[in-house]
């Protein structure tokens, strides 16, 4: 255990609702640097909402959210965080922008106001495109790419600022099976070799469990948060709790899971 390595993400008692109806209740979550957290949960369970709270796109009704130790309200180093939205693909497909221009947007926050793209930024953009295997598409218009290729462009846009934390909200929807495997390999490599902390929202529990180090299950409350192995061994029970209707079962599991979320620090040390 190391006290000096502060959590990349730290949520305490987070509560949120769009109207009076709560969408998220009493969320506690702590993500250690170097971990690869998979977040699962049924449709409408609040996963995307939680991501928006983390990014400061929405404001929590209650509780605290800390990014790299700083409360989200006063956090300014947004270039330390990369984001691929679930809706990334629903942009105006007629938008006259090249793949290169779109990926460049990932650097704009980092370059800062009143400054322009320099040679080194352009190299970074090409480097990010190489990572997702799209370098020869840099001059193509974004709307003319296939859905899966577009998704990879948005991943490159999130990677280009070399973030320490990468948040991906169902990034592989519409991506073919081969590319999904490549994509997971890429994430694994970013996580193991570059030490990037990953937060991946997905429905693909099967494929995910081979790659992630931690799992969290969300359905309004957080039902489980722990290491992948533990998740696998309790999987059936977890799934029943999360997708079933029996509230008492949910409360029961609730107590089991989410208090011991610091047990895997050793692993993240090893990764580093």
């Amino acid at each position: 255990m190391s006290a000096d390595r502060e959590a990349v993400l730290e949520l305490q008692g987070v509560q949120f609702g769009y109207s009076s109806r709560p969408v998220l209740e009493d969320i506690q979550l702590s993500v250690a640097p170097g971990s690869f957290l998979g977040l699962v949960g049924p449709n409408g369970s609040g996963k995307s909402t939680l991501m928006k709270l983390l990014l400061g796109l929405l404001e929590a009704d209650e509780g605290t959210i800390k990014l790299f130790g700083t409360p989200v309200q006063s956090f300014r180093d947004w270039n330390r965080i990369g984001f691929v939205s679930q809706k990334a693909g629903s942009f105006n497909s007629g938008f006259p922008a090249t793949v290169f221009e779109v990926v460049s947007m990932g650097l704009y926050g980092k370059i800062g106001l009143f400054r322009f793209m320099k040679k080194k930024h352009k190299n970074r953009v090409m480097e990010a495109l190489r990572l997702v295997g799209l370098e020869e598409y840099s001059g193509r218009q974004i709307g003319m790419l296939s859905g899966g290729q577009q998704q990879r462009v948005f991943i490159a846009r999130a990677l280009v600022s070399e973030p320490e934390l990468l948040i991906l909200d169902e990034p592989t929807v519409g991506v073919d099976a081969d590319s999904v495997r490549n994509f997971y390999e890429l994430l694994k490599e970013l996580n193991r070799n570059k030490g990037i902390t990953l937060l991946l929202v997905t429905h693909d529990i099967g494929a995910m469990s081979d790659y992630v180090t931690d799992v969290a299950c969300l359905n309004k409350c957080l039902h489980f948060h722990g290491a992948t192995g533990e998740f696998i061994s309790n999987k059936d029970e977890m799934m029943r709790a999360m997708y079933g209707h029996d509230v008492s079962v949910i409360e029961h599991n609730h107590d089991h899971g989410h208090h011991d979320h610091h047990h895997d620090h050793d692993r993240s040390e090893a990764v580093k």
Binding site: L55, R76, W78, S85, N92, F100, M105, G109, I111, R140
Partner: protein
């Protein structure tokens, strides 16, 4: 400013036209990708309201330039539209008819109060390049330069927000502030074009060059460059035609813009045909 003072009325008109032909398509490109080109119509009518109010003011204070009032109203209208778009988040275009009809209604009231001849209104409605005064040109020059500098400085942020506001926000860009800035810019450009092309035709210089540019552009940068080229061509061609044919300048500029757009369609068609035959040859 000495140069500006010594210009003839024709030279002043041409200078004003060139400035507007440059900046309008730039604003047009951003409006296009936000699917808000129609905003220029709403704003130009609110500018008219401001100008009618300004004309009323000149009856008490003759030194007042109605263009300033036009700008202030345009700015107010622009901010109001931004507000209405947030209220009607899923029906954003609804903001335009609200602003437009409100603006025209108030203008009608004010015009009935003002004791002014038809010709002055004609100049504001359809533009009148020969009535561009030294003060007007100064206003156009200053606002145009300011708008261009601001766009250049905030280019990255403007592009990113237009493409994907959520990502822009998550990358640390102050979306609200930049949107406000853009509202101010749009209001500026619309009110400065008033004198040359007139309220009814302001939208044309914003929409037509961009419409032609988007046919060929592959990148956002190209939309800007081609738009500026089409815009300037419309202005130069329009002024020349109006001079030799003795027709209204504002109208001539807009008709020239329409003709250029038609020509662009034609060229695009040829290009497509050419590409297709290339492909066939390739396949054979």
């Amino acid at each position: 400013m000495d140069i500006i003072l010594n210009l003839s009325f024709l030279e002043r008109g041409i200078a004003a036209g060139l400035l507007i032909g440059f900046i309008s398509p730039v604003i047009g490109a951003f409006l296009l990708v936000r699917r808000m080109t129609i905003i220029s119509e709403g704003l130009s009518h609110v500018t008219l309201t401001g100008i009618t109010a300004g004309v009323l003011v000149t009856q008490v204070a003759p030194w007042f330039n109605p263009l300033y009032a036009g700008f202030l109203f345009s700015l107010g209208g622009s901010l109001l539209i931004e507000k209405l778009r947030q209220v009607y988040r899923h029906f954003e275009e609804l903001a335009i008819p609200i602003i437009l009809s409100g603006g025209v209604g108030v203008s009608a009231l004010l015009i009935s109060l003002a004791d002014t001849g038809y010709t002055e209104w004609y100049a504001y409605l359809f533009g009148s390049i020969i009535t561009v005064t030294t003060a007007d040109l100064g206003f156009i020059f200053l606002t145009g330069a300011a708008a261009l500098i601001v766009i250049l400085l905030f280019y990255k942020e403007l592009v990113s927000i237009s493409f994907d506001p959520e990502f822009a926000s998550s990358s640390g860009i102050g979306v609200k502030k930049i949107n406000f800035l853009f509202s101010v810019l749009t209001a500026l450009v619309i009110s400065m074009s008033m004198k040359v092309v007139g309220i009814l035709l302001v939208g044309a210089l914003i929409a037509l060059p961009t419409a032609a540019a988007i046919l060929f552009a592959k990148s956002f940068r190209q939309v800007l460059i081609l738009g500026i080229l089409f815009g300037e061509a419309a202005v130069v061609g329009g002024i020349t035609a109006s001079y030799y044919l003795n027709i209204a300048t504002g109208g001539a500029i807009v008709v020239m813009g329409v003709l250029l757009l038609a020509a662009a369609f034609f060229v695009k068609k040829l290009q497509n045909l050419w590409n297709r035959s290339e492909r066939k040859e390739h396949a054979a």
